[in-house]
């Protein structure tokens, strides 16, 4: 909770790009997105959140380690495959055991004339996370190897649009509630797929705590 210092009331020359990349000699300014207060960007120690002196909202985070972001993305990708291939839960009823993987559940709901359920599950647990993880790898792998990824701006814009709709952690809680509710009808036990969903939730949440501006700065550095 250490607030960044507000800057003096000196306006920079018109047309100037102020907080441009990497260049240490330039004054880097930050505007609070909650109250519009002007701050001077200071070096935040790794992982620390800088807060606005006026409204105490988070301004930016100090952790912009692209290698660490890539590592977390790879973890999330592996967890994504685990979540989608191994059973989320196992049901036992009248001596009959059913392993419910996500894909089989989608197919079953589609076959029982419930296309809305099938579409909702496909979008939230398959399509949206697959696009998000794919695009993150598309950006982070080349950036870590110091080459500029193709279509950088478009990909960043898509990722920014998708981020608020990430619901994997809600789905995780949903599986747990479903397991408990099912225990009234049959014996329900959580499976390894659920572990995959949990790891995926935590790693995507961890990814949100990095400074996204680091991607822009590295891409600009490479464009020069």
């Amino acid at each position: 909770m250490d607030p960044a210092q507000p800057t003096p009331d000196v306006a920079p020359p018109p047309g100037a790009v102020i907080a441009s990349s990497g260049d240490v000699t330039e004054i880097e300014l930050v505007l609070c997105s909650y109250c519009d207060a002007v701050h001077r960007r200071t070096q935040a120690a790794g992982g620390k959140t800088m807060r606005c002196a006026t409204c105490h909202s988070p301004l930016y985070r100090g952790n912009g380690d692209l290698g660490a972001m890539l590592a977390v993305t790879i973890t999330a990708t592996i967890a994504f495959f685990v979540a989608n291939t191994l059973p989320l839960l196992t049901l036992t009823s009248q001596g009959q055991q059913t392993r419910a993987t996500l894909w089989r559940a989608i197919v079953a709901s589609y076959d029982s004339q419930l296309p809305f359920v099938a579409v909702a599950l496909t979008l939230t647990l398959l399509v949206v996370p697959a696009i998000e993880l794919g695009l993150l790898l598309w950006l982070l792998v080349p950036l870590c190897l110091r080459t500029r990824p193709a279509a950088f701006h478009a990909v960043m814009a898509i990722l920014q649009t998708l981020r608020p709709w990430r619901m994997i952690e809600v789905f995780f809680l949903g599986v747990i509630v479903a397991v408990v509710k099912l225990s009234g009808l049959a014996t329900a036990l959580p499976g390894w797929g659920l572990f995959g969903v949990a790891v995926m939730s935590f790693s995507l949440a961890a990814l949100a705590s990095f400074d996204q501006g680091a991607l822009w700065r590295r891409a600009e550095e490479l464009a020069r």
Binding site: C35, A118, L173
Partner: protein, 206 residues
């Protein structure tokens, strides 16, 4: 406090670059030099968008709570549950932790979002100077809890899908599922449309 708008600075909403717009005029013209997105000092027509989305969400709130969200059938038991009766049923089955969780996610959070956003948009529309820190904090809380209300939709979808697989009972989603998902999505859009800077502008700009 020096505001960005007072000194002609705007943040790009796509790439977070701080750009000098020249004169502190509105509406500002120009695109971000880094990513070409249009630059603005404030979210355009924020108030109108929030109010419209809130009205739509409130309209859907009633069918979402009045209609059945889930049908359960396991011989000889047959149930048609609304969101509230589902919570009560969990409570009666001594799953009180779960009942509290579902109650918070499905009933408390949507109500809180509708009420708090209406309060925020009215207060900043009137240029209120009442406790700006608390109002900013309230808005940040709304941003964080927004998508958790989707919990019940996932539970119904999962139960339906899994039970079809096991074929020992029948579970089907009811007519309340779509309006309920609508409330969650519309309130998420409404809170994303609200511009918290209006709290600190004291209504001068909006």
């Amino acid at each position: 406090m020096t505001r960005g708008i007072d000194v002609g600075l705007a943040t790009c909403h796509t790439c977070d670059l701080v750009v000098n717009m020249g004169a502190p005029a509105r509406p500002p013209a120009g695109a971000c030099p880094r990513c070409r997105s249009p630059l603005r000092f404030r979210k355009p027509n924020a108030r109108t968008h929030v109010i419209a989305l809130l009205i739509a969400a409130t309209a859907l709130y009633f069918p979402a709570n009045a209609f059945t969200i889930m049908y359960t059938e396991q011989f000889p038991l047959r149930r048609a549950d609304t969101i509230l009766s589902g919570v009560v049923f969990l409570w009666q089955q001594d799953e009180w932790e779960l009942a509290v969780l579902v109650f918070a996610a499905s009933i408390l959070v949507p109500l809180l979002k509708l009420g708090a956003l209406a309060f925020l948009v009215i207060a900043s529309g009137r240029g209120s100077t009442w406790r700006p820190h608390a109002r900013t904090k309230l808005y940040r809380v709304l941003e964080v809890i927004g998508h958790w209300s989707m919990l019940d939709v996932f539970v119904v979808a999962l139960l339906t899908a899994v039970v079809q697989l096991g074929q020992f009972a029948r579970v089907a989603p009811g007519p309340a599922v779509l309006p309920f998902a609508g409330v969650v999505v519309l309130t998420m859009l409404a809170s994303a449309s609200y511009d918290a800077r209006a709290i600190w502008d004291r209504g001068v700009l909006d």
